[in-house]
Point group: C2
Chain length 500, copies 2
């Protein structure tokens, strides 16, 4: 192990430790722990940053590159330390302080459903993120610098090209769908005892290939996946006694993230290819969008498919015989694909979900560009929800205050949800082309060939290839909305009996 | 916050993080995580040590002392960094490597019940600990340097003076007790469903004052208490379906440790008074013996007292009505105080427990002094168990290989178990003198006055006072076996109906 690898390993350990502090705080920590946990996380973060910015670290990477100019790990490390080095220390400190204040303010503003309480914090957050964009640098639009933190290579211009056809398609299809009668879905809201839900969720995760020797399922307020190397990849979900979908599809979603992390080449453990060094985050997936493509693929392409429910409705019915006595696989498949415009993003169906994202992206971009004033947000938000979904927003809590993202400093991450949807369909279509038996394997609930294909083309590579490279290698095309549009259209036309 | 406090806080954070990595590994981590967790712990340990030994840290302490020569925190920090600084880096590295190798060898040797497999590792461990003693320095006996790590101020000579009367007393009383019929205790080994045990244990811990807002109870192979500041103090236990005592008294024991940590002055959070800097361990209790005095006090003085079972047998019977139908409070009290010489230390009753400890202490001390050869250990061990307890050791697994301590590098910690027993009785007697209502409060299951007294005299002070100072302040005497002998004698004479 050379000097560069030794230092990288140490930084990686610290980022994994940070993930554990985070996981524990969200799943196990007693309430009193909150008083001192934040300081512990701040100390570990500061140490990781100090290690990353140590001149000896950059020097060790440069020494490697002199001998091997193609060494990608060293190049990526240098790129990250250079980006981090461009951010003034004071800005980092200001952001850290504001993040914790803004989150606190957001919690209170949301509870009071009063955007005015959060507005001053958001204004400062936008200002600091604008400074961050300036420090990091960009060519065309300051938002591009922020996008680059979450989805390297993505730009405002690229997003515009991607979103325009999606928006046109979704709005049109939504109009058609809403003119048809809704499938019945009442049975999803019967009482489902949590013990039974948990047993079923665990079985479902394992069926896809989630390895419990290197993972576990816990409960948290918001479901998430997190890892401390590929050897220990944990997921959480949230159980609701009177609603089956939340825990079930939440688990399938996080399982997709977990399969990615568990599938990374063991040789990359503790390396540059297992950490987002710029984001100070131990994660093996190469970008937010690529990660989301895998959670979406397993949750939606597989978990909401007809084949899946024809194979597995029987197990679910065996787990809940009374609740599902009057339901069959076809009913259930239609129910979990019901389109129902909703005020809340995280409750949205596949068709309206992207519309929620586009609203947020437009707002973020215009805020950063200084083309939209924070005070105007509720009006913009409510108008757009009315226009896109035909719903009146009754209060800020169910409107502009619903998401935690902006209060935590995340500006520029929302687009990756829709990018993930798009990539998921590209990857899935490529797998189908290469695996002629795929459809019949899925009908037989044999997920191994798909998992192996995804592992070979995506998971295995960790962060050693960019999202763009993965797409080009696996599908022959860069980001392309067509397979996604074809998929959505096909599914909803079938579920709602619309003419093809 | 001055430079010294800032640096101390950071070191404290790292030690708390280390505790979390440890807790997680022992209670939550999936098996696969073991591959990378060790490296994460090594990295955090190295960083903590680096921070402690940084010249700037000692300088910041010295700067404080120039202005305030009585600043105890600065003095303690300097003392710790000076001790750590005396240990050669190579010795630290050798110890770290040997610890992990020796533990592995111990696991295998115990499984094969073959001491010869462990002997070479123990020999090296003794050698390195002897080097450690030389590096740390001592006046009379090298064992004193090691004792000082766990129980500052304790010496071989002091131990001899303490153990002689204990040994004489215990052996004599044991002979008398064994001549009497044993109380019935068959009902402790009936089937007790784990759910019910867990509910009861949690209630019992809370009854003593364990604050679940700042704590939680989990399951682990070996019960322990660990904290990440006083805001988050966790305990574990181990449930056996067919044996009630293990989980129940294990929980009361760990609760005692937890009450200590939860009771530390909040002003000491992240300070020198909340960490064993020499031991690189975030703990607020002032010494191993003092800590053990509190676990023993709550487990034995309270949890195995007649008053406790007269107050609480009813709750236990309500939890397990069938299993305890033919038992009353008096039967139960006698059963949990049965004396039964055993091969295994952790299963020993209060009377024979110290004899197990003395055997280990004599061996440790002689090994370190070079007066006993590792190869002779089984013979020495088995002979002494025969002599003290009248038992033949059938194999090494149930003899010299039973404890993990030596394989983890702990040489010199065993005496603190008996020191804890002795201190527990001293503190208890002092509380009784000061609180005239104590006995009747305990009969009414009112534990608050005792907890308040212990908090005021012990817990509150964290590591800002030594064990000796606490004893002198609270009891007016240094370590004194008499109250302990009086207590044991009184209890067993009553349980076994012996003449007083």
């Amino acid at each position: 192990m050379n000097e560069f690898q030794r230092r990288t390993g140490e930084i990686n350990d610290l980022l994994c430790v940070l993930n554990l502090l985070n996981w524990d705080a969200r799943t196990q920590m007693p309430p009193g722990g909150v008083k001192t946990r934040g300081q512990q996380m701040a100390t570990v973060t500061a140490l990781a940053l100090e290690r990353l910015l140590a001149p000896e670290y950059a020097a060790s990477a440069r020494a490697l590159l002199r001998g091997a100019p193609d060494d990608r790990a060293a190049a990526q490390a240098l790129e990250a330390t250079s980006a981090l080095g461009r951010v003034p220390e004071q800005l980092n400190r200001d952001l850290a302080v504001l993040r914790s204040e803004a989150q606190e303010a957001w919690v209170q503003a949301k509870a009071a459903s009063n955007f005015a309480l959060f507005a001053p914090y958001l204004r400062r957050m936008v200002n600091l993120n604008r400074q961050l964009a300036d420090a990091l640098g960009y060519q065309d639009h300051p938002y591009d610098a922020l996008l680059n933190l979450y989805e390297p290579g993505l730009t405002s211009a690229g997003l515009r090209g991607l979103f325009a056809p999606l928006r046109e398609h979704h709005v049109g299809l939504l109009r058609e769908v809403m003119a048809r009668p809704a499938p019945r879905s009442d049975f999803l809201r019967r009482p489902y005892p949590v013990q039974g839900q948990k047993a079923y969720c665990l079985k479902a995760a394992q069926r896809f290939g989630y390895d419990l020797e290197r993972g576990r399922l816990d409960v948290s307020a918001h479901p998430f996946e997190i890892s401390f190397t590929r050897q220990d990849v944990r997921i959480t979900t949230r159980f609701q006694e009177n609603f089956l979908n939340g825990a079930l599809f939440g688990t399938l979603h996080e399982t997709g993230h977990a399969l990615y992390e568990q599938g990374i080449d063991p040789a990359y453990t503790r390396s540059v290819f297992a950490s987002d060094l710029t984001g100070l985050y131990a994660v093996g997936g190469t970008s937010y969008g690529t990660h989301e493509s895998q959670s979406r693929l397993w949750e939606n392409r597989i978990g909401r498919s007809r084949a899946y429910w024809e194979a597995h409705f029987g197990d679910l019915q065996a787990q809940f015989p009374e609740q599902l006595a009057d339901v069959n696989a076809q009913d259930f498949y239609r129910a979990v694909n019901e389109v129902r415009p909703s005020l809340i993003r995280v409750e949205a169906d596949e068709l309206t979900y992207d519309l929620h994202i586009m609203l947020r992206v437009d707002i973020e971009r215009d805020l950063i560009a200084g083309e939209l004033d924070v005070d105007d947000l509720p009006e913009v938000w409510n108008g757009r929800i009315q226009q896109d979904l035909g719903l009146s927003v009754p209060d800020d809590a169910r409107g502009v205050l619903q998401d935690i993202h902006w209060s935590t400093g995340l500006i520029g991450s929302f687009p990756t949800y829709t990018v993930g949807n798009v990539m998921a369909s590209q990857f899935y279509e490529a797998a189908r082309r290469e695996l002629p038996e795929l459809e019949s394997q899925l009908e037989q609930a044999d997920y191994r060939p798909l998992l192996d294909w995804l592992t070979r083309h995506i998971y295995h590579h960790g962060r050693s290839r960019s999202a763009h490279e993965l797409l080009m290698d696996a599908t022959g095309r860069s980001l392309d909305p067509q397979p996604y549009l074809t998929y959505l259209s096909g599914k909803y036309r079938e579920v709602y009996g619309l003419p093809g």
